[in-house]
């Protein structure tokens, strides 16, 4: 699964993407020309110092935000200039999100939270309920369907979030410091689920601060000041994995 064979299908292609923020009179360039190709089945860690633009990049990849300059092709389709409704559609159908702070809807139960993306796809209630229950079971929460998020531990909440991210069978799962709020034990559980998902062929991109976690992923991208500092795959996708930790220094 961690094969680096370059003849896999590219899912994400970024070309010279820049993101600028206007802060009063100062123009902040959060991203300064990122080019990146993500292939189907990729399992990527994004590393980098705080404020280097990791979250900004992930938000653009997740179609929550749009690049100021540059093109973004998702499954061959240019999404950098899509209208808001179409972006919503892409998010709902092709992308799954996992956040550091879980971001479950407090007044909904576990199963209802997992159903949210299905609801916006217009799936009939009975069907979506069955699917959500099945996913909850997969992340080990089959007996907690009617619990509220506040009745769950952080690790359990994050597992609900994973089930929710999987609900629409997305092309890519994006996780922004998914284990940041968790102790090492439950963080490990989450990463185990990620590993399994990748083994099953899912494409995952996760932001982390933890070098050890980055070790688990076949591909590591280091950001520095809004640019790609190092990518274990390189431009040709052939960078040797052995060099990845050295390059961080």
């Amino acid at each position: 699964m961690s094969s680096l064979s370059p003849n896999r299908r590219p899912i994400i292609e970024l070309r010279d993407v820049e993101k600028h923020y206007q802060m009063g009179s100062i123009l902040v360039k959060a991203l300064r020309g990122i080019s990146l190709t993500v292939f189907e089945g990729d399992y990527i860690s994004i590393l980098g110092p705080s404020g280097c633009g990791k979250s900004t990049l992930l938000n653009i990849l997740g179609c929550l935000d749009q690049p100021t300059i540059g093109d973004y092709l998702l499954e061959g389709k240019d999404v950098s200039e899509l209208a808001d409704d179409d972006l919503s559609k892409v998010r709902g159908k092709r992308l799954g999100f996992i956040f550091q702070s879980y971001n479950l809807i407090q007044q909904l139960s576990v199963v209802e939270n997992i159903e949210v993306p299905l609801y916006y796809q217009g799936m009939p209630e009975a069907e979506s309920h069955a699917r959500a229950a099945h996913l909850a079971d997969q992340v080990g929460l089959g007996d907690r369907l009617d619990h509220r998020p506040t009745e769950l531990s952080g690790g359990q909440q994050q597992r609900v979030a994973i089930a929710r991210a999987l609900a629409n069978d997305p092309a890519v799962i994006l996780a922004d410091e998914a284990t940041g709020n968790l102790d090492s034990k439950s963080g490990g559980d989450i990463l185990k689920i990620f590993d399994d998902l990748n083994t099953e062929g899912k494409t995952l991109i996760m932001i982390t601060h933890d070098e050890e976690m980055a070790e688990r992923t076949p591909r590591v991208i280091r950001l520095k000041d809004g640019e790609v500092g190092f990518d274990t795959m390189g431009e040709d996708g052939k960078a040797p994995p052995a060099r990845k930790t050295e390059a961080a220094k």
């Binding site: 938000n59 929550l64 971001n103 407090q106 949210v116 916006y120």
Partner: protein, 410 residues
């Protein structure tokens, strides 16, 4: 909440307004909408003169001449019911009551929409024969005959006896009470205190009255004699065509003005009163409408504030939903529905309160109210509409947020 008050006041006020105008209409209908009622009044400005020349006969009011002219000049005058009144004590055995003796014509009940409760009214033949018969109203019957049935018995006024042939329903006739309650009070010799509430009346043929009491009426009241000559105290004119009532009233007003130097008469046109009542109701409704509108506005702004607070509170939820594929439209719908449910609930409470208030008023204030189905329906729709209007801004604001910012909220 403002919505509750708004809706409740709309319903309650409509019910009260409707009830009041119904009552007014009913009262006016009792007078007969095609009628014009003329009543004689002692002129105000002759009062001092009357005091000085106590022995002289005071002449005032509607005259034969007036009636002749009215009959001659106004087309479509159907029937005129002339009436003459004497206010004095009526006796039955040892019981006496201060009452009004009304000389009138056999078709009086029909003209003034008054029902006979017992016996019959006097007839044309009795009128011709100047028979000493009378019909008394229920109130008088109760006072003079507390135990027995009055029909067939006799009542006495001064030295004249009248046989009771029937009992007629008591009705506070609008024209009379109007007259007595108004400036009439100052001039009428001795307005019997309870007159304004329920008048005590005995009716006899006009011919009998003229025959027995003559043209000049003598009264012994408050220790002095008074004499007055009044041709008619009360005349009811019926206009055949309802459309002609107002012009005819105008013409009659003209004739009377020419014939009378002093204003010693009063004209009551029920149809005009009806018009006036309708206008009053209109004004009433406008005032109530504005009150309701203001409270709904206040309620709406309240709802808007609640929703704006909710939106801020739930910014993160909005971000999550947007990330999960919700379109702006979906968010707008969600918040709009919530607002409508909120205002709809308020509206529902308002409907319940608004329908209860008239019932309470009816019970305790003894006032008639009418709640029509359309009033709560209208009020409820308005409340929901208020929800839509004031919910749309927070909803759009919620949906317009950037998903990234929404997710980062708090």
């Amino acid at each position: 909440m403002g919505i509750v008050f708004g809706v409740a006041s709309v319903i309650a006020m409509l019910a009260i307004g409707e009830g009041a105008s119904y009552e007014a209409q009913q009262q006016i209908k009792n007078l007969g909408s095609q009628n014009i009622i003329l009543t004689s009044e002692k002129p105000t400005n002759t009062k001092t003169a009357g005091e000085q020349e106590r022995s002289l006969v005071l002449e005032y009011g509607i005259t034969y001449r007036d009636l002749d002219q009215i009959r001659a000049t106004i087309p479509g005058v159907e029937i005129a019911v002339p009436g003459r009144r004497i206010k004095d004590f009526l006796w039955h055995q040892s019981l006496s009551v201060d009452a009004t003796l009304l000389g009138t014509v056999p078709w009086y009940p029909e003209m003034r929409n008054r029902r006979l409760l017992k016996g019959r009214f006097f007839t044309q033949i009795e009128m011709k024969g100047r028979d000493p018969v009378c019909v008394i109203n229920e109130e008088l019957a109760r006072k003079l005959f507390p135990l027995s049935s009055p029909v067939g018995k006799e009542i006495r006024l001064q030295r004249n006896y009248f046989r009771v042939v029937g009992i007629i329903e008591t009705k506070a006739s609008g024209a009379d009470s109007d007259q007595l309650g108004g400036k009439g009070d100052a001039t009428v010799k001795k307005p019997s205190g309870d007159e304004s509430e329920l008048p005590m009346e005995a009716m006899i043929p006009l011919s009998t009255l003229i025959d027995r009491f003559g043209e000049v009426l003598f009264k012994y009241r408050s220790g002095s004699f008074e004499a007055e000559k009044v041709d008619f105290h009360e005349v009811t004119i019926k206009i055949g065509d309802a459309d002609q009532v107002v012009p005819a009233a105008e013409a009659i007003r003209h004739i009377l003005k020419r014939n009378h130097e002093d204003v010693d008469y009063k004209m009551t046109v029920p149809l005009e009163l009806l018009r006036r009542a309708e206008r009053t109701k209109q004004i009433f409704n406008i005032v109530l409408g504005s009150i309701a509108a203001i409270s709904l506005l206040v309620g709406g702004i309240g709802i808007m504030n609640i929703m704006l607070a909710t939106v801020t509170e739930r910014t993160r939820e909005i971000g999550i939903r947007r990330a999960m594929g919700a379109k702006q439209r979906d968010i707008v719908m969600q918040f709009l529905i919530e607002t409508i449910l909120l205002s709809g609930a308020g509206g529902l409470i308002g409907v319940v309160v608004g329908m209860a208030v008239p019932l309470i008023i009816e019970r305790f204030a003894n006032m008639m109210t009418i709640t029509q189905i359309w009033a709560p329906t209208l009020a409820f729709s308005i409340s929901v509409l208020t929800g839509v209007i004031f919910g749309i801004y927070p909803a759009i604001r919620a949906a317009g947020m950037n998903p990234v910012d929404a997710l980062r909220h708090e």
